[in-house]
């Protein structure tokens, strides 16, 4: 069976270029030992996430059951199954930040964005994450939005910060 006949044609046609790139990656690793993890890494770079369609494509091309791919994708924390939002919002949960109220900041973000930690909002704008110590303990509690660092944050200023990115 040809690779393209096994799943919704639209998934491939909508992302023709990305799947072409993925195919190149697969060809590069084909025949090498343990190709799955490196292919998944590059697939995630291309698509932003290992969605079912991406996993199905790799499954057919490498002749590995989708179940096994899914198992690997959920085993390693660096893989994600759902695409991330444009703004990656994360609160440092290192000890210093934590004792200075990081949890309260996080709760406020959950309320403000309407999503839980690890989730992406339905517009694909924000993804909320928790991160380990970012090494800016002097500024604790620390909030990160993409590459922007906000130190000594309080729950009160969270809505203002988020509004800035909503408008951007």
């Amino acid at each position: 069976m040809s690779v393209s006949s096994v799943f919704s044609a639209s998934a491939v046609t909508d992302n023709k270029e990305k799947f072409a790139k993925l195919q190149e990656v697969i060809e590069r690793y084909r025949g090498m030992e343990g190709p799955l993890v490196p292919v998944l890494h590059e697939a995630q770079e291309i698509f932003g996430a290992l969605t079912l369609d991406v996993q199905k494509y790799i499954s057919e091309a490498l002749n590995v059951p989708v179940m096994q791919i899914y198992g690997v994708a959920t085993f390693y924390s660096q893989f994600t199954l759902k695409p991330k939002g444009k703004c990656k919002v994360s609160v440092c949960m290192g000890t210093a930040c934590y004792v200075r109220g990081a949890k309260k900041i996080q709760d406020k973000l959950v309320e403000n964005l309407g999503i839980q930690v690890g989730e992406t909002d339905k517009d694909g704008k924000f993804t909320l994450e928790a991160t380990r110590c970012v090494g800016a303990c002097g500024l604790s509690p620390v909030l990160l939005v993409n590459d922007d660092v906000y130190g000594r944050t309080t729950p009160d200023i969270v809505p203002n910060i988020m509004d800035k990115y909503r408008k951007a």
Binding site: M1, L52, M67, Y70, G71
Partner: protein, 578 residues
């Protein structure tokens, strides 16, 4: 054979090279506990219940995977071993729901056995536990992760079936065995074979229980409730009552069904004979008219779904014959009701099957030729066992009774449907006689018997050399189909059964614990009983079944007639995998 000498707990034994410590200990008369180990299927050394001390190594070793070497000294019962096993067992138990009293595997559970053997009175690691919803959306398979001990026996067996829809997800404390993306097992390409149920040491995977539906029907004074039983049930049901593996209980089963209140007790073996008439005719027709070959059998609903999902190119090769359970159901709601002046709306057909996939099959909308479902409820052998227990029948001491006439008569050719190779053998017995006008010299076709994964036979029928192949277990079927696809092999006729061993070890049969499986292979022991049953039958060829002949005379006219097609044949559809 090269052997090595090993000392186990002071007992010197000589064992074949390549044996494990577990094997050697067994020969020394010591039963090392195991849990994740399932011989030939799951040998991954994961649970570490089977730890032992090996002189000269520092850590304790998993005996189920550790190979012996000459002069090795093993100790299986030291304080360190006992403590390590106990800790591992307590860790497993701390994460298990321990609702034994309401578990379908109560008193038939390998975890319970260990807890008892090691006198676990108290669990030192009461930790946080995650509660998972029970997945009961499939008509065949129920998954309850709260009972799962992560042994991965089901994962290995599903992969060996060439399906691979359950596996470990996530990691550490959150590890769970389940399908992809939190889906139900009903929403992935599971073929409902139930081999995972047979593999599970606990109650984490089980059949969908339909017993209550049958009790309700039996209570209903407006319903005429009839039952049919598949060939393989009669050589296994006794095990549910502590009888020896391989005991034939055909007569007691009929007696029990009558006592449970079924109005008529019929035999799926009748329609197995009928299948041979229809499928044999189909085979000869395809050979004569240049039809699609190889013809592939259609009795096994797990195999049908497998083909629909993974090999849609072969759908035209599959016989259009419905499976015997559906054929009999359709006849019960047409021929039988017409003959007896019954209302088909009030006839309720129950089948007792060695199979969980039959539950799915009975729900297929196209299998309702009369406008009513051919079969209303499917029970597995295990569920029938539970009904008989609930009713308080002393099964081993019941008298032997007969099936009811008309749709209860069968030949030896029908009963062998229960073992891998049986449909092929039954078909060849009849086809040979149709083609050559005389019976085969030896109607026992040994080449297609036995538990080898793929078997082949060539039979000369007049000027026609029929090439046949038999595969059991969809993993083996997959390997065979790949060879047919590439042109490496050519056949006229292929039999496929989804379950390794065929129906005798179908997913609905009594569960045999891993330890027992190491001693006695139920595929062989139950098949031997099937072949004994065949040998004891006065008639052993399907076309000699007098009731089948009468059915054609009175109702269907001839095999593959218009009426036969209407009632006894079906079609298949390609299915999406995900």
């Amino acid at each position: 054979m090269e052997t090595v000498k090993v000392m186990v707990d002071g007992v010197q034994v000589e064992v074949p090279k390549g044996s494990t410590i577990l094997d050697a200990a067994k020969i020394a008369g010591i039963d090392i506990p195991t849990l994740c180990f399932l011989k030939g299927i799951n040998e991954i050394g994961a649970c570490r219940i089977c730890l032992v001390e090996v002189e000269g190594t520092r850590a304790l070793q998993a005996s189920c995977v550790y190979p012996v070497s000459d002069g090795m000294v093993v100790r299986t019962n030291t304080p360190a071993v006992r403590e390590a096993r106990r800790v591992n067992l307590e860790l497993i138990l701390s994460n298990h729901d321990r609702k034994c009293l309401t578990c379908v595997r109560n008193q038939n559970c390998e975890l319970q056995d260990l807890a008892e053997r090691f006198h676990v009175k108290d669990i030192r690691f009461e930790g946080e536990s995650i509660h998972y919803p029970v997945d009961d959306l499939s008509p065949s398979i129920v998954r309850d992760a709260n009972k799962c001990i992560l042994c991965r026996r089901c994962v290995a067996v599903c992969a060996s079936q060439g399906v691979g829809v359950i596996g470990p997800v996530d990691r550490g404390f959150r590890t769970i065995i389940e399908p992809i993306f939190n889906r139900s097992i009903n929403n992935v390409p599971c073929i409902n074979c139930g081999q995972c149920i047979l593999a599970c040491p606990v109650g984490a995977i089980r059949e969908k229980d339909d017993v209550e539906k049958v009790w309700t029907a039996l209570q209903d004074p407006n319903l005429h409730v009839v039952v049919q039983t598949a060939p393989a049930v009669r050589v296994a049901l006794g095990e549910e009552f502590g009888m020896e593996m391989g005991t034939r209980v055909t007569g007691k089963m009929a007696a029990a069904l009558r006592r449970l209140g079924f109005d008529k007790v019929f035999d799926t073996n009748f329609s197995a004979d009928l299948t041979i008439m229809e499928e044999g005719t189909e085979l000869l027709g395809r050979i004569k008219n240049g039809g699609k070959l190889p013809l592939i059998t259609s009795c096994s609903p797990g195999w049908i779904k497998f083909c629909e999902q993974f090999y849609p190119d072969f759908l035209d090769n599959i016989s259009t014959c419905k499976s015997p359970q559906q054929m009999l159901g359709a006849l019960l709601k047409s021929y039988y009701v017409e003959k007896n002046g019954l209302d088909p709306a009030k006839v309720f057909v129950v089948s007792v099957m060695p199979c969980t996939a039959k539950k799915f099959e009975a729900q297929r909308p196209e299998l309702s030729s009369t406008g009513y479902p051919d079969v209303d409820v499917v029970l597995t052998t295990r569920e029938l066992g539970r009904m008989i227990k609930e009713a308080g029948l002393d099964f081993p001491n019941l008298p032997d009774e007969e099936f009811d006439p008309t749709l209860g008569e069968s030949t030896g050719a029908a009963v062998i449907f229960g073992a891998t190779g049986g449909v092929m053998e039954a078909a060849l017995r009849t086809v040979a006689e149709i083609v050559t006008g005389k019976p085969l010299d030896d109607i026992e076709i040994k080449a297609v018997r036995g538990i080898e994964g793929v078997k082949e036979a060539e039979i000369q029928l007049g000027d026609l050399l029929v090439r046949a192949a038999v595969a059991h277990g969809t993993g083996n079927a997959k390997a065979l189909l790949e060879k047919v696809k590439s042109g490496e092999k050519e056949y006229h006729f292929i039999e496929v059964m989804a379950c390794p061993g065929g129906c005798v070890t179908g997913g609905g049969q009594p569960i045999v614990k891993a330890k027992k499986r190491m001693d006695r292979d139920p595929r062989e022991v139950r098949a031997a009983a099937i072949y004994d049953e065949d040998r004891d039958k006065p008639l052993r060829k399907s076309h000699e079944n007098p009731e089948v002949k009468k059915l054609y005379e009175e109702y269907l006219q001839e095999p593959n007639s218009h009426k036969a097609h209407e009632l006894l044949h079906t079609h298949y559809v390609a299915r999406q995998k995900y």
